[in-house]
Symmetry: C2
Subunit: 223 residues, 2 copies
DNA sequence: GCCATTTGTTACCACCCGGTAAGTACTTTA
DNA sequence: TAAAGTACTTACCGGGTGGTAACAAATGGC
């Protein structure tokens, strides 16, 4: 009974699928064919787990076992846990850009361009893909902080540009653009804290209601 | 046999005040007079630290050293780390009720009662007092989850009551009250993720702008 | 068939964290 | 003044985490 070496680490019930891998497909350790685990597969799982459990509370062992590999294997693909997070953030940003590219059109009024932004954003939140939201700078290295902050700045800039465009073309009206942007991001980002029940609302319904609320407010029209 | 005993664990630099106690006054360990540390003082520091660093990333040692006491001393006042959090949540809720009691008046239109709610709420967020927001159920015991969820439910109910009152008296108008409440809480709760710079905006300015945005929206009035 | 590269594995470490046991000093009370 | 409680301290444990060293098996090119 040596307690330094934990023998139980190796033995993992091969029949128990566990709830670890509820999010994405995963089998038991060793069941996966060699070579099917690439960076993108890892980031898919990692994004989901970071989003569901939080970055801190997701251990590398959690991620690895959801992929049916072992923790050190992750270090073949990534250089650190933070590296995984940063790549997830980058991936999320790229997916956002791709999603928005189809529907976006700079000739539309700013108001509509804000709507496009929000619909894509809410979609991706509910797909557990926007790791940026979940990334808390306080756990990151200085270099990581800079990178993460840059992505946040870019996406913030994107929304603010649309808001300004709306102000110019007369489709939107507001005082303080910073507070407005913060408010909008708060509304949608906080979805990551919703309990599972509330998340069952279809993304389209959520973004519809939010967009309505943001544009029209909830004050009764004064007569 | 066992190499698990790490001797270096005990040695800790006693002079290093560190930046742990930037939030509230603290000196080096032992500088504080006996008896000045009571539950309320602990909760004050703990709330701030939970809010600034997050619950997970605030160790009991962090809290203790900010109070110039040792970690086991905390166990004289509280039974566990979660206990501290739960008491902070309760304290925050009570402070909220007290703050709101002065200005609240059920005879006011719902719209104004929502405003009162939000002004108090934003104030207390900026005072780092609403630990409820920072408490992530995923780290809590089942019993803790229930308690925490109850406080959240109560404060949610409070806002929804005000919203419904506004809908009845005609001062507010909206479709889905749940989404509206989620949206509002998202806007204000997300303030806990703002970087320090943005938090310098005076609370009154924040709540004014948020309230304006919530009531009137940012869509230009259609002619 | 052999070798280099890719993709993993086992075994392990140093560190940190929540929590506990047991003892100590100050303060109140009878 | 002595007992009883209050408010701490030192020393320690078990368990978990990110990360590393060293080794092994599958894969593809020659």
């Amino acid at each position: 009974m040596t307690d330094a070496v934990n023998p139980k680490r190796a033995e993992r019930n091969p029949t128990a699928g566990g709830s670890a891998a509820r999010t994405a497909g995963a089998g038991q350790r060793r069941s996966r064919k060699r070579g099917t685990v690439n960076k993108d597969v890892i980031m898919g799982i990692a994004s989901s787990m970071f989003r569901e459990r939080g970055y801190d509370r997701t251990s590398l062992e959690d991620i690895a076992s959801a992929l049916s590999i072992t923790k050190p294997s992750l270090y073949y693909h990534f250089s650190s846990k933070e590296d995984i997070l940063l790549e997830c953030i980058s991936r999320g940003y790229i997916l956002f850009q791709q999603k928005i590219a189809d529907r976006d059109d700079v000739r539309l009024p700013g108001r509509e361009r804000v709507r496009v932004f929000l619909e894509a954003y809410v979609d991706l939140i509910q797909d557990n893909v926007l790791s940026m939201i979940v990334a808390d700078e306080r756990v990151m290295s200085d270099a990581g902080k800079v990178k993460s902050r840059n992505y946040k700045r870019m996406i913030n800039r994107d929304l603010q540009d649309r808001l300004e465009a709306g102000q110019r073309d007369g489709s939107l009206a507001f005082d303080d653009i910073k507070i407005v942007a913060y408010g909008i991001f708060g509304m949608v980002n906080w979805m990551t804290h919703w309990q599972s029940g509330a998340l069952d609302i279809p993304p389209a319904a959520v973004s519809d209601q939010f967009v309505k609320m943001i544009f029209d407010g909830i004050g009764a029209p004064r007569a």
